[in-house]
Every structure is written in structure tokens, then in C-alpha cells.
Point group: D2
Chain length 379, copies 4
């Protein structure tokens, strides 16, 4: 299968989400990362480019120049990932849309509603593909939740409870130089909405994605609990849905003790669902008048939607892949250390550990053959 040529704007040294996009793009081996504008500072852009293993000629300080140049190359990028702070999404995405290049853009879409409306129009005009990384909609159990609702298993949806609670802004870390906090609490960079934009939009999308419903009216109580902060850090939003369902969305970045506590509950006339992002392998489903069922990724009774988003068997939480990758990373470190003549003691189990396993099996079989007697491991 050929690989799609991918570019990236943002995601240079010190950034967070750019690295996540790159790991994600590698996982299924469908993309080839060939170009980037990682910084508007030319020297820093080139330094990042070298770290990323890119051809220096395809590393740009100016994203507009990148859009033009890549659109002209016969081997130019087919799609760009936009991973800058929010205030640049509109200009960056716009430049690539206009150049006829597909876009993968982080959320929230833009800094203002007007910018968002403008992007919608330009995407339509240019005819390019445009994806927004509302990541949580891609968990297998979220896909299954949506499929269950669509199937009618819940009956008419009556109540929707969604929340996204974090605590990383419980204190004013934006004044202490924390880069992620600084831009997210600056309306000029993040938009007027603070918490409501940064994570409220995730919760909102998740609720609409799973239920298939739209919100017609809302009433919001936004609060700023940390003194001096310029945007909301807590948002309570009452919701009325287009089918008459009621709901509530709570987003908070001052919810002490919460890391990324995104949770959705949907109650219908025939059943209910509950999903917590921090335990993404499970979905709780209760048909009215029957016991609650714990549905698991890869487990019994799941359908096609979950299967399509599943790579590894049930019971191996998805961190299994990362654990596997960790062993490969440590093996790489060992190989490179050996290559360079450096000492390197790492945790990856070695052939001795492998042999110990066989000693164990051997002793177990010896004991078993003696009717379960105690035996020593060194036979």
C-alpha cells in the first residue's frame, strides 16, 4: 500500500500535540512525513526539521510559503496537519485549503465563530478534505456507543450528561512560564472561551457524536476561579436537544483531583450508556429492567463500528501497544549504545529472563508429575 505524503505546521521543539500527531500517523503506516513549518523562526524551524529527519529543503519558516511550494511540487504533500495554537488555525488551514491541500486540524477549529464559518465556506469552495481531531470520537467503545444509539437500543434519548474535568489550571500556572497554560489562558491566542473552548468543545462533540442529536438551546454559567485569569476556567452549560432531550455539560480546569475526566452518560426510554475516557476499554450498557452489562473492546456482542477501530484483541488495553513499543525503544537504545561502545543497562528482559521462564515451566511440570509435591527450581 502506498503512503500518503504528510506535512505539518507547528509541532516544533517544546510542543506537545505535534508529537502525538506524528506517532498517530506512523501507527498504521499509511503516511510518509515529508515537510513541515515547525516554527516561524528560520533557525529554529531548521533545527526542528533536522530532529524530525526531514529534507531541509522542505522545512519552512513561513506556512504560506510552504502551502505554495508544496502545492507546486509533483511530490508535494497531499495533506497537512495543523497543530499550532488556536489563533493560527484559521490562517494556516486557510492557506492550505486555498492551495488545494487536504487538512487535518486540531480543535477547537478556530479562535472565533466568524473564522470557523469562513473555513467552512472555503473548504466547500476548494473541495478539499478537512478533518478535525476530536480524538475521543475515535475510541472503539465510543464508536460502539454511537452504533447502539443508532440501532434504537436506547429508545428515545431523554437525558444526556457529559463532563470534562481537569485540574491542571487549579492554580495560576500561566504566570509561572508554563507554555501550554500561557497561550490557553490568553484570549488573543486561545479565543474568548477558555475552558469552554479548550475542552468544552470536546465534550460537546462527544455528546452530539454519540447521540446523533443537535443542541438547540443552552444556558451557560461560566466562571473564573483563579484570580487574574482572563478566560473562564469552569463552565456549567444546561442543554436542550432537538428531540426534546435535556442535558448538562460541565467543563472545568480547576476540578482538583481530575486528570482528563471526560465522561458521557446517555439515558433513553429503553436503556442507558456510560463511558469514561479514562477507562476507554469499557462501556456500560443497561437495557431497562435488565442487569447492567460491561461491554469491552474486543469482547462479546460488539459490532462493526468498534471492530473497525480495533487493532489488538480484547483484554489487552490499548497501552499494550505502547508497552510493546517501549521494549523496542529500549532494544534500540541498547543497540545504539553497543554501536557507540557505550554501556547501557536497561529494563528489557534478556535471554536469562527467557530461560528463567522455561525453568519455571519445567519445575511446574516436574511438580505436577510428582502429584503436586514441592520441587526446587534448579532441578
Amino acid at each position: 500500500m502506498r503512503r500518503i505524503r504528510l506535512g505539518m505546521v507547528g509541532g516544533g521543539q517544546g510542543a506537545f500535540i505535534g508529537g502525538v500527531h506524528r506517532m498517530a500517523a506512523r501507527l498504521d503506516d499509511r503516511f510518509e512525513f515529508v515537510s513541515a513549518a515547525p516554527s516561524s523562526d528560520a533557525a529554529r524551524a531548521q533545527a526542528s526539521g533536522i530532529e524530525l529527519g526531514l529534507d531541509p529543503q522542505r522545512v519552512y519558516a513561513d506556512f504560506r510559503a510552504m502551502a505554495v511550494a508544496e502545492a507546486e511540487r509533483p511530490d508535494g504533500i497531499e495533506v497537512v496537519a495543523v497543530v499550532t495554537p488556536n489563533h493560527l488555525h484559521h490562517a494556516v488551514a486557510g492557506a492550505f485549503i486555498d492551495a488545494g491541500i487536504h487538512v487535518i486540524c486540531d480543535k477547537p477549529l478556530t479562535r472565533t465563530l466568524d473564522e470557523a464559518i469562513d473555513l467552512v465556506a472555503r473548504v466547500r469552495k476548494a473541495g478539499v478534505l478537512f478533518g478535525v481531531t476530536y480524538t475521543y470520537s475515535a475510541y472503539p467503545m465510543v464508536r460502539h456507543a454511537r452504533e447502539l444509539v443508532e440501532s434504537g437500543a436506547l429508545g428515545d434519548i431523554r437525558v444526556v450528561q457529559v463532563e470534562y474535568a481537569q485540574d491542571w489550571l487549579a492554580e495560576d500556572i500561566e504566570t509561572t512560564g508554563q507554555k501550554q497554560a500561557r497561550w490557553r489562558t490568553d484570549p488573543a491566542l486561545a479565543g474568548e472561551g477558555g475552558c469552554i473552548g479548550d475542552i468544552g468543545t470536546h465534550a460537546y462533540h462527544l455528546a452530539c457524536f454519540v447521540t446523533g442529536l443537535g443542541v438547540t438551546q443552552l444556558a451557560a454559567d461560566l466562571a473564573t476561579f483563579v484570580a487574574g485569569r482572563k478566560v473562564d476556567d469552569d463552565a456549567h452549560v444546561s442543554l436542550r436537544f432537538d428531540n426534546g432531550a435535556r442535558g448538562h455539560l460541565w467543563a472545568s480546569q480547576v476540578a482538583t483531583g481530575c486528570q482528563n475526566a471526560l465522561a458521557l452518560r446517555v439515558f433513553g426510554s429503553k436503556g442507558s450508556l456510560s463511558f469514561r475516557q479514562e477507562s476507554p476499554e469499557e462501556l456500560w450498557y443497561t437495557p431497562l429492567g435488565q442487569p447492567t452489562q460491561r461491554l469491552t473492546r474486543g469482547g462479546p456482542s460488539l459490532g462493526a463500528a468498534a471492530a473497525q477501530a480495533t487493532r489488538i484483541p480484547g483484554g489487552h488495553p490499548e497501552g499494550y501497544l505502547e508497552a510493546f513499543a517501549q521494549l523496542y525503544r529500549e532494544m534500540a537504545d541498547q543497540i545504539e549504545a553497543r554501536h557507540a561502545g557505550r554501556a547501557c543497562v536497561l529494563a528489557v528482559p534478556g535471554v536469562q529472563a527467557g530461560a528463567q521462564g522455561m525453568h519455571f515451566v519445567d519445575a511446574a511440570i516436574r511438580s505436577h508429575r510428582q502429584g503436586g509435591a514441592w520441587v526446587s527450581l534448579e532441578a
Copy 2:
């Protein structure tokens, strides 16, 4: 950073663990996959090679030929991943060891203890690196558990409870053509130990890895519950450790209702730990006489060992990366469909979904400015 040249034996069409190894090798972008012996059948080997995007000249039907040829090439593989059924581990790993190529080998190490002892000797002689994929030892919270034990936080270890329970062999699916079940229940392919070898070795390694203790004596009660099966499908093993601690290991593949329920509990004179692989983001720690603490990946009070195995922030379970990858995969599908002129309707959120998020933020701020009044979403 340069990429290490990687080969693979096994993992052709229809295999499971080979694909996991390849995703793992890609995640951190430290390896370049350049050669394979995916099948002993030449035609099938070439077909798999094409699927994997390999140079046909570096796709082999004979792993011995591969070891020799790759060792001779100046751009030959530096390390090979052995992902065949157990009975081939010894011959395959041995061929590459003798060719001076590093090895990453799946577990259990070999089919018999003698083969394992032989490999240990040959690794020592050849001086190559050899890693065994006891994957569970690489979870961040397992690394932290080990660090806690080493730090003395648990005092003297007294009791170790470890278990690995599955139910996929609760019925005799090996007679129905299920490939994974067939070789794992055939002593000629899997070894004398069935369940004890396949998953008991994982549990055994995890217990030793975290506690730093060795087992000196054991008493085993192996059972075969499914009629006609030739290997054990359930194993109870009582353990005595080298420091006087006692323990029990239970491995079962007939434990109805369990997917991959690997769990470890360690009790010491000053505290205890509990880890469940199916919830790998958390580790429960109780200092004697104090409340139980829920330690989380990326959360407060973790140390260097966990950090070294952590890629993404706390509260984003590691499946977050897969969800992200899923959006990229779906974007790739859309781009390819567009490329080929095919229709393709997929779940990846589009620019409209992005704009809906901005409509939501805008309405929330409008409501808030009106003292929390209800407002419509279409302003």
C-alpha cells in the same frame, strides 16, 4: 536520529503478533523494517513481503538463508524479531545469534528447557543483544511498582499473588480450525506446558520483575479441563521465594469471563501494591496504617522509571494514541478514496463538526453575558 535496520521471521498473512511487533517498532520511529522471512512457502513469503512494502530481494522463505544473506550485506539487518510459534524460536533465534545479529524474541523463549539453556550459552558466546518481549514489564505503572519495591517502600516482601486468567480456551476451539488455539495446544509446537507456558511465564516474569525476588521452590497442580486437550489449560502453582516470602500463581485459559486478566499483588511489612493489566493506567499503593492511594500514569508522586516509559500526559489512557491514529487512518482512507474517485463516508469529524464547536462556544459566551439566560444556538 538514524533508524536501526530491522528484520522479522514469522508474522506473515494470518498471523497476529507480528503486526503488533511492527506497530510497536514504528511508534517511536527508531527502526526501519527492511527484511523478512514471513513464511517457509516461497510464494506466500513473497505475497506477504509485497503487503509489507519490502524489497522482494530481501524477502526470504528460509530463515537460515536470511540470516546468512543479511549478515553479509553492508546494509543488512542489525536486529531480527522472532515472532513464529514457540517450536521454531530455538532454531530461528539460534541462526541469527550465530550470524552475529541481535534478536528480539517472543515468549516463551523456547519449547523446552534444554533449548533455552542452549540459547543462553550461544548468546553469551556470540555477544549479541537478546530481548524477550515480556510486554507487561514495560507498562509505566509496572516500572513504577518495581521502583517502589526497590525503594524499600514496601518493607520486606511477605506475600506475592499473581494470576493471568483468560477464557478463550474454555471450549475446544482447537478442533474447529482456530489457528492460534491449534498450535498453542499441540505439545510438538508449543512445548509440554500449555497454559503454564503460554501465559504462566508472563505472570511468573511479572512477579519476579516487580519484586526483584527469585523463586526457590514451587508446587504445581496442573489441570486439563477440556476433554481431549493434550496440554494443561489451568495451573495452580504455590511459590516460595528466596527471601522467605510465600506466594501463589494462577494461570488459566478456561476462566470464563476473563479476557487478559493479568494481576499482581505484592504485600510487604510496610505496604502493598496492586496492579491489574486491564487497567494499566493505575497502581494501588497502601502504606501500612494509611489510606490506599491510587497512583496514575502521569499523575502525582511518580518517579523516573515510569516517566521513562511514558509518552503522553496523565489521564489520557494510552489508547488515546490509537484513537488519534484511527482518525489518521480514516483520513488516509478518505484521501485514497478521493484519489481513486471512490465515495467514502467515514466517521472522522469534518469542518462542520469543527464549526459546530465554535457555535457552541459562541452561544455559551452569549448566554453567560446575559446572566446565564437560555439562548438559541443559531444566533
Copy 3:
């Protein structure tokens, strides 16, 4: 210790909460149940009185007559429990207040706000004691939660999330003759508030009780999802507290899959708390920047408030008392059956079961003395 003389209005045949009040009154042996007005129908009142083992002379059909008569007796009741449907609370409680008798009254206090205000005034005038059974405020871990907030451990309270979700009214069972449903959905008997009064008041009291805060403003969205129902069956209420904290209260009786899912979370500037009534033995406490702690009834680090409400040791959930009572009940059944010459085979373990335990201990010690060898139970 002398026992206090207790009367009851309501709680006759077919009632639910009256029996709970009586068990509660017996548990600590502080009350003597001596009088009742279990029904306004004289014959049914007497029948209930006999079942309850009361002196027929002290069983009344008219609660007003009961108040007068008992107030005049030298051995008259000192306190009355009011366990009627809501619409009678005002008249019944009022009659006993005016007779100078203390009152224990079920919640919600009355059918209307005016009635409640009237009761407050009459209690003040009569100088009697008056308790409302907001039961959930008496759980040991709720008492501890309140103590933690009072101690300042949470800092300034910022956000309060409280909910009480049930599903027993998800369908229109009030039209099928279900007695509990019928009066609770009839505004003439229950009051104008349906779900908001029946369980919303519990959630509201719990939030105020634990935080020590008052609510100054609210915005409510009440809904009736079951066609034909005359009161709300779902209530979303946004809250503003007197210290500036924000919050949300959700009460629902159509929340499919929920039994009595009362839950409270309190987030402050220095820490947070989470309590779920369905797991009342535990309270989750997170100091900002530290791991979450699982506090348990009877466990480490609890204070005086929880201790004062605790009867049995930690780790024995309070259902332990009921299990114990069950064995006594079954022993009573056996004794009575024996008394009456009837056969009676019940689950209470007998002397054989006791002896089997000793066989087990004996065999364990025999095995141990043989170095852990397998032994048979019949020595």
C-alpha cells in the same frame, strides 16, 4: 439505659418506609415502640397494630386523637415518627407539635412551602424537638466529608456536583396500581414538585450539609418525559452558592439503569471529595497535587465525626449487620418451626458446617507439618 417511648403515624400494612423506621429505632435499643395510627380505617389500623405487637388501646385510626390521648397519658409517647405520604406531613406533625410531643418526620417536609414555613413557626413556639430523616447525611463517610470540608482541607469550595438518579419511574407504572408511584406522581399528595421534591431535596440537603454552604440562586429546567405524568420526572438545576461557588444538581426518576445513584462531588482550591451512596463505605479524597486517597469507614485517618456514626469495624460493610440478622431470623424460623412441629430447612449453617471448618483447619495443619504435601480431609 432507659428506652424512649415512640409512636408512629402511617406505616401500616403495604407501606415501605415505616418498617425501615422501626428497624432503625430498634438497632441501638434506645426506643420502645408503644403506639401508632397506622391507618385512618379503624379495622385496618387494629389489624396493623396486632401485627406490630402493640397494645390495642394505643392503636388509633385518628392521628389527632392519638396526639391528644398520648399527651395526656403519664406513659404517653415522647416522640412520634411521621411516615405518611407528603400531603399529611403538615397536619400530622402539627398535631403532635401542638401537643408538645417531639417529632421525627420523613422528607420532603411538607407538600407546599407555606406549610413548611408554618411548621417552622409552630416548632419554635412549642419548643419541641423536630428531626427530618435526610438519611444520607448520617452515613459515616458523609459525616467525614463534612468534617474534612470544615477542617479547611479542601480550601475554598469552587464547584459542587450533586445528583440523584433512579429509573423506577422510567415507565408510567403509576397507572398500573403501583402504590408508591401513584401518590408520588399525584400533585395533590406529593406536592407540585415530583422528582425535584422526592429525591431532589435529598441531593440538595446532602450538598448543603457537606459543604456548609447555602444556595443563593438557581436556574431550573424541569421535564416530564413520561406521557401523561402530572409532575416532573427529571430536574436539571444550576446552582450558585453564597461563597461564589457554582454547581449543578440533577435529579431524575427516568435515568435508566440507575437504582439510587446519589452522588456528591466537591471541588475546592486545595482538594476534592467524591462520595457515591451506593458505595457508602468509601470516600475519595484528593489533595491538590497528590495521589487520590480511598478513605474507608473504620480505616486509617478518619476523625471523630465518622467514628460517632460507626458501629462495626472497617471492611465489614454495614450490610454485615443485616447478614448477621438474617442468620438470627432463620434461627428464629427454625425454632418456631420446631415449636410448631413443622419441617423447616433453611440456609443457616449448622453444627456440621462448623465441624467441617475444623476438619479443614486440621487438614491444613497436617499438610503444613508434612512440608506442604497433599493430604485428604478425612484423616
Copy 4:
């Protein structure tokens, strides 16, 4: 319904389990507690008798005298509860058995196996009823578990895992004057088995009770981790059942971080069950190849056995009764303080709290009628 006359031996001042027995006997109002031998010291016996509200003539220092005297009275006790330390069970129970009085006896049955065998014979000869308080067998969900196994829902039982883990003896508190620890670690008072007798017998009974199976063979590894202790404080016991099932029992009183972690898992050819005593409201049931179900006390799909042991509705954990009792206890304290002219400020919600609930309902309805507008609570 008449009340059965109950006596008690043991359970005087400073004792624990006697008070539990008395609360249990009161809960269903089936017993009248009329006689006791709370201490072998005459003065202490009388002091305890006064506290317990007993007729001084029926308080005894000598249990043998009590058995004789009560057997002769026309209103003598019908049943005696034996709540002494283990070493007295045999003599005490024997005296009452021989006097023709029914017995409720704490576990383990006796100090030695010989004593147990003797009691079995004497019960048979005397024809009295004899109950052993294996309390955990009386939880509703344990009763349901047994019913499920009996129904064949699990198929053939293959594996049984049972454990009872505590940590209260993790240090040598028996040398510090802790009374419960002292007699439990003294073989002369507790018997040869320490942990294996004290809590191992509970686990053993639970496993046999639920599965209906008997144990034919076992292999035990008993350990004493606390220096100087004279009995085992940790027991690993491998089990073979009469139907061929295998199992393991772990009992420990040095399991740091565990309070009363009694847990049972049963795996059969068609399904499995899991019960944890510390969450006694739920039972996890997995039919092979289907999602795991969370069965709850009072919830859907339960049968007659659980119903027979259930007093209050589902979702109200059984601690609900205790919380209710707590309010009654606090009301009693207030009444007595008033009676005695003492001040008494307690947590029981008063009429003001009741009225606040009605203010809340009133405000919610006002807001709702204004389309969900914010309103103040003081109208």
C-alpha cells in the same frame, strides 16, 4: 408474632462480637434478650447485666449454672448465643446442648477437631437446633450466587478462587495489650490454627456454601511472618474438590492494605461469578461468550434466595439502615439531653433543614415557570 427468649454467654464489657449479635437479634424483632453470663467474674457479670437492661436474677457468672437454671424456668431461654473466645465454645455450647437449649455459636466451632466432632454427636443426641454464624453466607448476593450455581447457570465448576485478606496483625500488636489480638494469637485460646482458623474457616465455608462442592484434598503452606508469633498469620491452601475442580484459598492477617477483603470467584464451563464482601451489593456474572453482568441486590433478574434475605430496596446499600438508625440514635440523645436539661447540638437535620428543602423545590418550580431563568431562593 411472639418473640423467642434469647440468652448469651460472653459479650460483656469490652467485647466486640456480642454487641453485633444483639443488634442482629433486634433487627427483625424476633427475639427477646432475657438472660446472660457475660463474665465469669460475678461483679463484672452483674455490671454488664445492668448495662444490658437484664433482670439481675437472670445474670450469671457461671455458664453451667445458667444452662441448668434457665432450662428449669418455665420462661427460660429457648436459645443461647455463644460469643466467647474459641477455647470456651465447646464447654459452653455443650452445657446448653445437654440442657436441651438451642445454640447459636460463633465460628470457628471449637478449638480442636476432637471438640468439634464431640459437639456434632451431642447435638444429634440432644436433638437441639445449632447454628454457626458464618455470617458471609447470609448476604443476599451470596445466596443468589449459590442459587445460580444450583441452577446450572455456570455449568460444571472447574476453578474456585477464594481469599480472605486482612492486615490488622501485620505488626505484633498482641504484645501491646490489644485484647482481640492477644487471644487470637494464643494457641491455648484460639486453637492451633491462627489465621487459618480465624478467617480461613470463613473463606472455606463460603467456597463450599456457594459451590455446593466438598474438598477432598488440600496442600497447605502456613507461614508466620511476624517474629515471635505462635500461630500462623498467612495461609496458602491448594484445594481439590470432589467433582475434580481445582482451587486455591488464601487467608492472611498480614496483607497490608486489606481490611476484610473476603472474595470468592467461581469459574464453570458455562459461566463465572465474582463476589467481594466489601462490595456486598453486587455480584458479577459472566455467561460464557456474553458480556459480564453486574447483578445487584434488589435489582433485575434476582431470584427467591436473595429476596428472602433482603429487607430494603435495591440501590440502598444495607448501610442505609444504619444511617437511619443513626438519626434515631441522635434524636434519642437530643430527647434525653432535653429530659435532663443538658445542651445537645447534633447533626440530625431539623425542621429548618426540612423547610430549606421546600424553599429549594419552590425556587426550582418558579425558575422552571420562567423558562429556566435564574431566581433567588428567598422569593
